[in-house]
C-alpha cells in the first residue's frame, strides 16, 4: 500500500535524501575515520621518535580539519560532481557534520567495549559472544528495515544503527559489513590492535559504501552537454 505523504513533507524529505544521493558524504566520513585510525596506529610513545610523532600529528591535524570543515569539503566535491549533473539544493538544516560525528562515535563506542572485553576471554567464550553479536546485528538490521523498534531487546548496536539510519543514508554494505568486521576482529585481529582495526574497518566500510553509491550515481547521471540555464 502506498502511503500518502503531504507534498511539502515529501519535498523536504527528498531534499534531505539528495544530500546523500551521491555517496560523497560517506566517502568523506570514511576518509576522516581512517585519519582517526592513523592517530590510533601511531600514538605518542616514550622515547619519542620523529617519524611516528610526525605521522600522528599530521593525521590528528587533518582529522580535526576535516571534522571542522566537513560541510565545506562535501560542498566543494559536490560542486564538481553532483550540481552540474542533477542540480543544487541547499544542504539540510540539521548539521550533517554533527550527524557524521554522532555516527562515527556511536559505532566506535559500540564496538570498542565488547571488543576490549573479548580479548581477555577464552576462545570458546569469544566465539559464543561473537555469534551473539552477529545475531544482535542481524536483529538490528531487521529492525531498521521494518521500521519496528522493540526497546526491551534494544542493544547499543541497534540503537547506534537506528540513529545512523535516521541521520544518515547508506546502502546494505554497512549493515552487512559491520557484523563481518566484528567477526573478523574478535577472531583474527591481534589483541592489542583490535580497536585500531575496528576504526580502520569502519572507515573502509564507509569509503566502500560511498564509492559504490558515487559510481552508481555517476553512471545513472551523465554530465549534461550544455548548461541547463
Amino acid at each position: 500500500m502506498t502511503v500518502f505523504q503531504p507534498p511539502l513533507v515529501a519535498a523536504e524529505q527528498r531534499a534531505w535524501n539528495y544530500w546523500f544521493v551521491d555517496g560523497i558524504t560517506n566517502l568523506v566520513v570514511g576518509a576522516n575515520t581512517l585519519l582517526f585510525a592513523l592517530t590510533m596506529m601511531y600514538p605518542p610513545r616514550w622515547p619519542p621518535r620523529p617519524l611516528p610523532i610526525a605521522l600522528w600529528l599530521v593525521a590528528l591535524v587533518l582529522y580535526v580539519v576535516v571534522a571542522l570543515y566537513y560541510r565545506q569539503i562535501v560542498e566543494w566535491l559536490k560542486a564538481r560532481t553532483t550540481y552540474p549533473r542533477t542540480g543544487y539544493v541547499e544542504s539540510p538544516s540539521a548539521d550533517p557534520a554533527e550527524a557524521a560525528n554522532l555516527v562515527t562515535f556511536s559505532l566506535g563506542a559500540t564496538g570498542t567495549p565488547p571488543e576490549v572485553q573479548l580479548q581477555h576471554m577464552q576462545r570458546r567464550a569469544r566465539w559464543m559472544i561473537t555469534i551473539a553479536l552477529v545475531a544482535v546485528a542481524c536483529f538490528a538490521f531487521m529492525v531498521i528495515h521494518q521500521r519496528w523498534v522493540w526497546t526491551a531487546t534494544g542493544t547499543l548496536f541497534s540503537i547506534a544503527m537506528i540513529i545512523a539510519r535516521r541521520t544518515f543514508r547508506f546502502s546494505w554494505i554497512l549493515p552487512v559489513g559491520f557484523p563481518l568486521l566484528g567477526l573478523y576482529i574478535t577472531t583474527f585481529a591481534p589483541r592489542h590492535m583490535g580497536g585500531t582495526y575496528l576504526i580502520i574497518g569502519m572507515g573502509m566500510l564507509f569509503i566502500l559504501d560511498g564509492a559504490a553509491t558515487l559510481i552508481t550515481y555517476l553512471i545513472r547521471n551523465p554530465m549534461p552537454k550544455a548548461p541547463a540555464a
Binding site: A11, S93, A228
Partner: protein, 117 residues
C-alpha cells in the same frame, strides 16, 4: 455566490496554477534550489520552468540569482518573504475549502441517491 464559496475566488491565481504551485512547494520546503534541481523535481521543460519562474519573479514571490559553485554556474531560486506569506495564506485557504464537513452536515448516501435518481 455564498460567502463560503467566495473564499475560493480569493485564492491567489499566481500560486494556484499547478506548475507554479509545484515550484513554490519545493522552494517553501527547501530554502533555495537551482534551476536544474527544480526542473527535475517538477518534471517541467526548461522553457516552461523559465516562464513560470518569470511570473513568480514578477509577482515578487521568487528571487532569482545567478552565481557560481566552483566553476559551475548556478541559477539559484529562493522564496521571498512575500512569497512565503502568500503561500502560507494560500495553504490556509485551501485547508478551509478542503476541510471535511462536521458530523451530520453531509446528506446520507440513501437520501443522496433518492434525490439524484
Amino acid at each position: 455566490m455564498t460567502p463560503d464559496l467566495q473564499a475560493l475566488a480569493t485564492l491567489d491565481r499566481v500560486i494556484h496554477e499547478p506548475a507554479r504551485l509545484m515550484i513554490i512547494t519545493v522552494l517553501y520546503a527547501v530554502n533555495e534550489a537551482d534551476f536544474l534541481y527544480l526542473q527535475r523535481e517538477c518534471g517541467l521543460t526548461q522553457g516552461n520552468l523559465s516562464s513560470h519562474l518569470a511570473k513568480l519573479e514578477d509577482a515578487q514571490y521568487v528571487l532569482i540569482e545567478k552565481t557560481f559553485k566552483g566553476k559551475y554556474p548556478l541559477t539559484i531560486c529562493s522564496l521571498t518573504q512575500k512569497g512565503r506569506a502568500a503561500f502560507a495564506e494560500y495553504v490556509q485557504k485551501i485547508r478551509v475549502v478542503a476541510a471535511p464537513p462536521a458530523h451530520g452536515d453531509r446528506p446520507s448516501k440513501a437520501r443522496h441517491g433518492k434525490n439524484s435518481g
